[in-house]
Subunit: 188 residues, 2 copies
DNA sequence: AAAGTAAGTATCGACTCGATACTTATTTCA
DNA sequence: TGAAATAAGTATCGAGTCGATACTTACTTT
């Protein structure tokens, strides 16, 4: 069984990460899943900052995510605003307090320490390997990729040379194209 | 910040794995953490099959682990036996039912699918990268390695040519040296 | 306008997990 | 040798997770 060893590693890694996340989060009254939501919101684009997008990203139900968001809002770490076009939709935005907290906790200190000791080359290899694995997982299970616009098949250029999304038919800034989008589809 | 991208990947991977584990576990009435305990017990050696070892491996408190184990015992997935030498200590052992269940759920189908699509070479690279990362994490944070006896500094040979552990002063079988030990220390 | 659908919320129950206090067994050491 | 310290594990509590279900509100379809 080839995937056995791989699973051993993944489970261990996952457990180490989660334990560390729990430990550093608890000092600020945050659960692992809450940190994950904050982190996601800090890297997603303006079409992907809704509760539903979080739901898809985390693979939970919308009820569960709704709870998590409520708590984060009460803690003053994020702000909820109704969409002006479709009032069923909410947009979530980190507050300054939220950003500050995230900056201190993510990436977790444990990981930073480990990275410092790794040579540049190993670092690159690991990053590449992880990316490859994630892609394989998503593709072979027909899941959304949640990649950055830059690598999306809908991403193009407008006449003035700027970036342009052919799906939502909107221009994108340089910052935009480096953010995660829930509509992302890998370029062919 | 070099570790940022790495963290993005790790968090995503961890989340994907956990969601899948939750989904497949729920069908058998098992939580992710319960599956992790079962899996650990299936790969650890006879010095590492105690509640305390599980506690260290999962990075939780002994109270929490005690609960988890109690549930698994009630479900008939594992057996608890008192140590004959030190009656404070319990040894945990998967039942046939436990082994059967684990065989069906681990590795998770999602991962198996992904592995099938990955070329042999990529598979090896990913495995190596993960191992390297785990080692870096454990070393730079002074944590127990939980490696297999085969790679331990205490592992040696006895006069008759068999394996021998210089820490517990006991001979080890061929099967033994491929199992995870809580006393494991990386060879110098 | 009515039915259908989508986004999000409210509530409930089973479960996790840390904290604290406890029991029992072993070790230390005066 | 006997009391204190320590170790392994359990019991209990409370805050929080998470899925299921039912609901509200808003948009879409026909």
């Amino acid at each position: 069984m080839e995937s056995n060893q791989l699973y051993n590693h993944l489970e261990r890694l996952s457990e180490l990460l989660r334990t560390d996340l729990r430990k550093s989060g608890i000092e600020h009254g945050l659960q692992p899943v809450q940190l994950e939501v904050l982190h996601y919101l800090s890297v997603c684009n303006r079409y992907s900052d809704t509760p539903l997008a979080v739901t898809e990203y985390l693979g939970q139900t919308k009820g569960t995510v709704s709870q998590t968001i409520k708590v984060l809002e009460q803690k003053g770490l994020l702000l909820k605003r109704s969409d002006t076009e479709d009032r069923r939709v909410s947009h979530l935005e980190l507050t300054k307090k939220g950003h500050k907290l995230l900056d201190r906790l993510v990436p977790p200190p444990m990981l930073i320490k480990a990275c410092d000791k790794l040579p540049q080359k190993a670092h690159k290899q690991i990053n590449h390997a992880l990316h490859q694995l994630i892609m394989a997982l998503l593709q072979s299970n027909g899941m959304k990729s949640f990649g950055v616009c830059h690598t999306c098949r809908y991403n193009g250029r407008s006449e003035d040379g700027g970036y342009y999304c052919n799906l939502v038919q909107q221009p994108l800034s340089v910052d935009d194209v480096q953010r995660i989008c829930r509509e992302h589809e890998t370029a062919a």
